[in-house]
Amino acid sequence: MVQTPMTRERLFALREEISRLEGSSIVAARQEALDGESGYAKQREIHRVPLGIAALDHAMEGGLALNGMTEIRSQLMRDATAATGFALALAALLQRMPDEDRSPVLWISDAVTSMETGIPYALGLADFGVKPERFLHAAPRRLEEALWLAETAVESGAFSVSILEVKGNPAHFGLTESRRLSLRAKMAGRPLLLLRQSGEEEASSAPFRFLVEPAPATSRFLPDRSMLGGSIGNPVFRLTLEKSRNPAPVSLLLEWNPHDRQFLPAREPDHARSARKLPAHSGPRLPAPVNRPDRPQEVGSVLALERAS
């Protein structure tokens, strides 16, 4: 087919329009390259913050979106702190950026989750790499209040990141509400992390969804760079990018270094495997109590069901 320059131009503009609607960054990068000639590229705002892990950054099209919603999910309530940790690690990563230096982090907590797993602890935040003096904790009573808070916070543009904690899959927080929040975040150009504790996979308007599970921590380094056996070092998360444009889910172990505020790839630690064989403490292993249930055993088999989204 012969294309006149006119039609090519139009086609190009339409493609661009579509990709802009979809929020894809590939064309945005091309646009940037084009703009570079006219000296626009420098003024363009950074919309992605790389996590520093090549596989993850590639799957997330350059890193964590600064103008949109990202969902982080934990399967069980006892994994809630791992998800908390990953969300706060992202917050710390954003706080590290020089131009966001003064903006605080807003944590909108969920009442039930606070009761079950406690509230964020300022000293712990400091140890984790988040500045507690730049951390605001909101404790709304109802979900509607929490949603209003999240929307207002994102709209105000005063926070480097707002984290909305939700327990489970509440009926009043469906696709409509999530779309609304997502659009607000996009319009305001502010990141919003939706932290779904002990929730199922659910269709939402967040382009990316992580599943976070705890994993054994790394060991501490000794001054001569050898590992101290049996010590508990940096936290490690088992991270699965459940939802993305990439069809294959990315799953990896991620170590968070609170001191340098950076993610590091972690490999399956040796001591975790050996720990199952060898108890840490000598002495007889007590049998599981008979008068009450032990930890719930796996029931049934896992089927390859399709994901909800």
């Binding site: 809630a80 209040e145 975790a272 930890r295």
Partner: protein, 472 residues
């Protein structure tokens, strides 16, 4: 049972206060007796006092059935003292309240004239003239003093004015003369208002009452605009505002709102009350509408006008302050908290959560917490109160548990760090508080917990274990 109050008909029959009910019934068999409800009386008086705020902000309660209004500087707004008194009494009469009042330059004289005299406005030069024929009871004296004065034949205040002061003071104490001087305006008597007086206030009186929320907010914005110049003159901005809504039927609503930074922008003040109205929506019954709207600035602080810069950093502070104000106005000040580090080594006391509206000052560089003492890592989430954990086997005397049972699940410990021994604060908890040994524990599934043992194995037969926090 005795009579404490009478209506006009009962007074006409000849009943008296503090008469026995049986005696009164004997005099008038059809007597209707109602039990006195002090709390209800008090509520009514409070309601009337609220209503009287329209005349002056300085309203003080006087005993069970009286009000003092300090109308210094406000009477001219109502067309003079005479017109003011007439207006108050007429409006109260229309509401079904039998009220008497007097205006004079001494609270004591007003009290005497309204209760024992004919009331009205008493000029400065007529004070002695009005007071002289009144009974001595009008001086707010104790009953005993009044009785003994009457026994001596000193029945009217005029007799006391004539009498030599020294013997009176010797016989009845200084209080009698103090009351006399106060009634004559020779001695100062402060009237303490029942509510804190606003630093600044402005109001709108409406001929047509408003009911709609938009109208109220629009008027609030207008009033805030008229307050702006006074705030600018003082170089100040308001920190605490109060919107008073006077309903047509006499009910008064007060809606308070605070801000985190001094504020004088009318739009933002109106916006603040828009959030507050959302929050109190159900409690605010507009009824037939509000006739007076008043905006009080309860507290103001210096308003520093910073120079705008180009990088927009200040804009961010403004939007943060706006966010904090909006949330605090709508969801209450306790909803939004910031953490302050305190000087304590006990984990739950080391951090205090304060309302962000008081503690969080955007724009200023927050003071970073300094921890001079060495400590191990703290958990990311801390329980409000530690939860009891069942530990079946732990290393004695001061080792970590091998496995523990918490929330119906057994966790097998794979790695642990500790103990970190924290003695409790004897100046708070007492000398016999048990010290805590904290362990950082990882179980075989990778969950990390913060456990502690209360007490030592040597001292207690079986020390208890608690879960205090969870690490990421």
């Amino acid at each position: 049972m005795r009579l404490t109050a009478l209506d006009e008909v009962a007074e006409a029959i000849g009943l008296k206060k503090s008469q026995g009910v049986a005696e009164a019934r004997a005099m008038c068999p059809r007597l209707e007796v109602m039990e006195e409800d002090l709390a209800a009386d008090r509520r009514l008086l409070d309601g009337i006092a609220d209503w009287c705020d329209r005349y002056t902000p300085l309203v003080a309660l006087d005993g069970r059935d009286g009000l003092f209004l300090d109308i210094t500087g406000s009477s001219h707004l109502f067309g003079g003292e005479q017109a003011l008194l007439k207006d108050i009494l007429l409006r109260l009469f229309q509401m079904g309240i039998d009220a008497r009042g007097a205006i004079s330059s001494a609270p004591g004289l007003s009290w005497a004239a309204s209760r024992f005299g004919s009331g009205g406005v008493i000029a400065e030069e007529d004070m002695e003239l009005v007071l002289a024929p009144l009974p001595v009871a009008s001086l707010r004296l104790e009953e005993q003093t009044v009785a003994s004065l009457q026994k001596l034949g000193l029945k009217q205040v005029g007799d006391l004015i004539m009498a030599p002061r020294a013997p009176l003071a010797r016989r009845f104490g200084a209080k009698l003369l103090l009351r006399l001087d106060q009634a004559l305006g020779r001695d100062e008597e402060p009237v303490s208002p029942r509510r804190p007086v606003a630093s600044l206030s402005a109001e709108r009186r409406l001929i047509e009452p408003v009911q709609a929320e938009e109208d109220i907010l629009y008027l609030t914005g207008q009033i805030a605009l008229s307050l702006k110049t006074s705030l600018e003159e003082r170089g100040a901005g308001g920190r605490a505002f109060e919107l008073m809504l006077f309903r047509v039927d006499g009910r008064v609503f007060r809606i308070a709102a605070g801000v985190s930074q001094p504020l004088r922008d009318p739009k933002r003040i109106a916006g603040l009350f828009s959030e507050r109205l959302q929050a109190v929506h159900d409690d605010l019954d507009a009824g037939y509408g509000f006739e007076i709207l008043r905006l009080n600035v309860m507290r103001y602080e210096a308003f520093d006008t910073p120079q705008e810069d180009f990088d927009g950093a200040r804009q961010k502070d403004v939007s943060l302050a706006g966010f904090v104000d909006r949330v605090s106005a709508r969801l209450g000040a306790d909803c939004l908290q910031s953490f302050q580090l305190c000087e304590s080594h006990v984990p739950e006391r080391a951090v205090a959560a304060n309302p962000a509206i008081h503690a969080f000052t955007p724009g200023k560089k927050p003071a970073a917490g300094v921890f001079p003492w060495s400590r191990s890592e703290r958990p990311l989430r801390l329980f409000r109160r530690p939860e009891l954990v069942e530990v079946s086997l732990a290393e004695v005397p001061e080792g970590p548990p091998q496995s523990f049972h918490w929330r119906r699940v057994t966790h097998r410990v794979s790695r642990s760090q500790g103990p970190e021994r924290l003695a409790m604060e004897w100046w708070v908890d007492g000398a016999d508080a048990q010290s805590r040994d904290y362990f950082r524990i990882e179980d075989d599934t990778g969950h990390r917990f913060w456990l502690y043992r209360e007490g030592l194995y040597g001292q207690l037969p079986s020390p208890r274990w608690f879960m205090h926090g969870i690490f990421a």
